[in-house]
Amino acid sequence: MFIRFIMTLVLVTACSSASARLEILITEGINSARPIAVVPFKWLGQGKKPQNFSEIIAADLQRSGKFNPLSINNMPKTPSNSAEVDYAAWTKLGIEAIVMGEVKPDTKPGNYIVTFELLDVLTGNVNMADYNPIMDKRRNTVATNQLRQYAHRISDIVYEKLTGERGAFLTRIAYIAVDRKSSHPYQLRISDYDGEGEKLVLRSKQPIMSPSWSPDGRKLAYVSFENRRSQIYIQDLYTQKRELMTSFPKINGSPTWSPDGTQLALVLSKDGQPEIYTFNILTKSLQRLTKNRVIDTEPSWAPDGKSIIFSSERGGRAQIYQVSLTTGKTKRITWEGEINLGGTITPDGDNLVLVSRHNGNYMIAVQDLDSGELRTLTKTQLDESPSIAPNGSMIIYSTVYQGKQGLALVSMDGRFKANIPSNNGDVKSPAWSPFLQ
């Protein structure tokens, strides 16, 4: 299933599955999470159950850093619908909420009927007619190949009901893998947010950098050195169609999509120093935003699309600045730390996530944009490329872990941490997709 490109044979895209599988290993933050029970879904068909729903949902909720699912061994009972629940037994264990469900074969082969309920244990234990413990209850017909996605969908619903914030379990991660044993070592891959379903979407003999998702989650912009120079491409993930965006002399770098999907912010050094530009994808027109004799790079759009933040050495060492697209005025926004790089504003517009250097260590940090207060979230030395989940709950970034470059997760409050070690070469430059449903 390879597509050959007219330009070069060096490069092929493939929709075959890559050999590596990323696995999330939680290292910190379970103790402070809310206790919850995800009871194994009851299988009402013959033979082996088609998908382990409770395992996927419990893992999702645990990885959010906000919930601590009860182990199955410690469950007083394993009910599959609300009529069977003894609330007192769960209250005794301090469980706040129960997720349960049933799966049965549909009359149409290859389809299943999945029901689930989310119960509030405290309300159930009070047992008053006016208070319904059922927070949510749904019944859906799901095809075999959609079962895993539907489990993430249940996680999204549970998460939103219990936190008031939208879940981000039906999202994906794009990242660069470097497999030096391969004929095409530089690989752009995409997996579900939990590392499942990894797909190779581009591989090359020369480096690939800076993947950035389109706001509709359908395309990636990235930098490729396939022609022994930096060029910016856009690739449609559903059709594999690639389009060359910029190929100016010297640096073509750091593309990031505008929130409305019509423009890229990017870096070009064709006129001397690396400068920030906006580039209209349709008309290919360029607008230059910075002009000075030092490095300006790493543009990132504010969620409202009205300004762009970027890293600049105009004040000496690199710090983060913000340029308004309406007035053209630029202001410095980071002051703490030896060096600050790679900034992105959170989806709610309240915080700045960045790479901050302290005592020579590069760590992921978050700065409150109102107060200017900066908190480092990680304790490692070589953290870079932070990318924020679309619900603003979690940051994925690249770090060096046991001598290899791999990915890691940290919650926005810094309490939850997980490593996503690579079992096959280096993995870096993660980019969290927007909401995909």
Binding site: R228, S230, K250, S254, S269, A318, G342, K428
Partner: protein, 179 residues
């Protein structure tokens, strides 16, 4: 190299003229005196014959080294952390390459700028370019035409040392001269 082919052919051609009608299979001639004895009587050059041996040839690289010193064989310029200043140790290497490029205006060079893993990949692309440009400016100041030079920055994407130690970083902060 053209020069060596020409000089090699001259080395062979001159003694051949002296040998006159000698067999072209000159390698065995000196040993086959008996066979040539009858012919020798008829020859003008009476009893004396001469022959050649292979000249000890320098490789193309060694000949370049003779012309431009050993410095031209070195193609890596290292830099200090977060710096793009050319250190004095590397002047001789760059001088040799500049001299070669000035003497051979049909030759072109690509200067690849590289950075260590410290700092973000995007920042390191900018830093790598600054290093490559520092090399380019040096060569241009020595008289190399800008049209002979291409600059590309790979930032931290192509380390020569895959480790994460201080030594690895020293090796990875570099510009590479590629012909």
């Amino acid at each position: 190299m053209n020069r060596s082919i020409i000089s090699k052919s001259l080395l062979i051609a001159l003694p051949m003229l002296a040998l006159g009608a000698c067999s072209s299979n000159s390698d065995v001639d000196a040993e086959s005196a008996e066979k040539n004895a009858t012919q020798a009587v008829e020859q003008v050059v009476d009893d004396v014959q001469t022959n050649t041996i292979e000249a000890i040839e320098l490789t193309a690289e060694e000949q370049l080294a003779q012309l431009y010193t050993d410095a031209i064989l070195k193609t890596t310029i290292r830099f200090e952390f977060d710096k793009s200043l050319i250190m004095p140790d590397y002047a001789m290497i760059l001088d040799a390459h500049a001299k070669y490029l000035v003497n051979n205006t049909d030759k072109t060079i690509t200067i690849e700028g590289h950075a260590d893993e410290l700092g973000t990949p995007e920042y390191n692309i900018a830093l790598g370019e600054r290093r490559a440009l520092a090399v380019s400016t040096y060569l241009e100041n020595m008289g190399v035409a800008a049209s002979q030079i291409t600059v590309v920055s790979y930032g931290e994407e192509k380390p020569v040392n895959l480790g994460h130690t201080k030594m690895a970083r020293i090796e990875n902060r570099r510009a590479e001269l590629v012909y």
